[in-house]
Symmetry: C2
DNA sequence: TCATTTATGCGTATGTTTAACACAAAGATA
DNA sequence: TATCTTTGTGTTAAACATACGCATAAATGA
């Protein structure tokens, strides 16, 4: 006789935000219930019977953090039998990006147990969440080079230096500013606006815009986006 | 009051095999039970309470097809609420490769409802399995270019022409034989054996071997495998 | 106000990699 | 022994990546 399957299904989200030079952040929550009560963990939770996995991610993020996501993709499904000390829980993990606009939202609800952590100053995480986070970080680094997802970490209009710094921060590499700009512009998916940003010292910078429509038209015809610097 | 979660967890496997020039095949089974009884589908089934997802894949493949897998990786998790007409079933899909050695195994059990299908002559598939298969095929094509997984579709020792044909078949592109060979050898992960294969007409070919250890040593130091031809 | 600092924007030389292509070598066939 | 077929190697031009130099446009402060 067959034993009835008893596995719960949850989602977990690794959400990255980029504020300024040299600081990539991750969104974490402090757990209110056992197991791992009062420890930091990835936002997430059980999937409802009639909702899709993506809906579950959006719902949990809204409930737990109030953050609006700008890019979301499935990462990996963690299914080892003992990853949750109580019952068996399958974790379908997602990986998301938020623009700086949407970054600050949590500031209002400071009392709540949700917080952005710099990637270099992470607390100890519950469950196997460190492993999930590591995988997400690896994916972000890899994907930045061959898909234009970096724009989902910047505001709609940005100076070129923001884009440069973003790439250098995430890839943890020095990049030649001039060659980077040349290559980026050569794809023809970034537009100049007529706006100029003048803050701080130095020459004021033109603001640029990612033309997503143009990009989507291009990829139909074997167009290949790739940024790689040694 | 909370409604108890009622979601089943299954795995599905898309297994590719490569016999000869111009024929990439997929392993399918004919379902013996409802729903979709007597229709073709991907091998797979429910995960047991105490087994890992990978174990479940291996078990199901063994039970249903008798095929030994040479490469396995998680593909994607399909979780839309209505993908199974009866209950909600989450499908964690896997993508696998078998070497020609292990390809024929099924021939003994011809009576069983399991069969290799050329990718160009697929039957209609049950559930959303066509979608899963498409994604696996896409992944195989993409991955062939930046990870040396092609060797898991060839015997341990192979003539260079086999490798060329494999790439041309899967990528569906003409590749310059001479440039391909030069580039492949330049990575230093393929070894010449002292064996020579003489079959058919034409000059007999040296047999080569993929040196997996060498490859694994290299990737530690930022080594990058990449085969790309237009 | 005028030199200094800071950051942007453009251009050019050099080396490396890719893409296109031709022919010799080793057997099988007949 | 001439012909066919497949393997094995080399050469070259064009494309691309890399490494720079320097002018420009503001803010800063002596």
């Amino acid at each position: 006789m067959k034993i009835k399957q008893d596995i719960k299904v949850a989602i977990d989200a690794v959400v990255f935000g980029y504020e300024s030079k040299n600081s990539l952040s991750v969104l974490l929550i402090k757990r209110g219930i056992e197991p791992f009560k009062d420890e930091w963990a990835l936002p997430g939770g059980l999937v409802l019977n009639d909702e899709s996995l993506e809906d579950a991610v959006e719902r949990e993020l809204k409930e737990e953090t109030g953050v609006t996501i700008d890019y979301l993709e499935q990462l990996y499904t963690f299914g080892s039998p003992n990853r949750d000390p109580r019952n068996r829980v399958l974790a379908v993990s997602y990986f998301g990006l938020v623009k700086p606009n949407h970054f600050k939202i949590k500031a209002d609800t400071d009392a709540v147990d949700v917080q952005w952590f710099h990637l270099s100053e992470l607390p100890k995480l519950a469950f196997d969440h460190q492993q999930i986070l590591d995988m997400a970080h690896k994916r972000l680094k890899a994907k930045l080079s061959y898909e234009p997802i970096g724009f989902d970490l910047l505001n709609d209009e940005f100076p070129f230096s923001d884009l440069e710094n973003l790439y250098m921060t995430i890839l943890e590499k020095e990049i030649d500013r001039r060659n980077f700009r040349k290559k980026m512009l050569s794809f023809g998916i970034i537009e100049e606006t007529n706006k100029i940003e003048k803050i701080g010292s130095g020459r004021p910078a033109k603001l640029f815009k990612f033309n997503k429509k143009k990009f989507q038209q291009l990829i139909v015809n074997d167009f290949h986006f790739e940024i790689k610097f040694v």
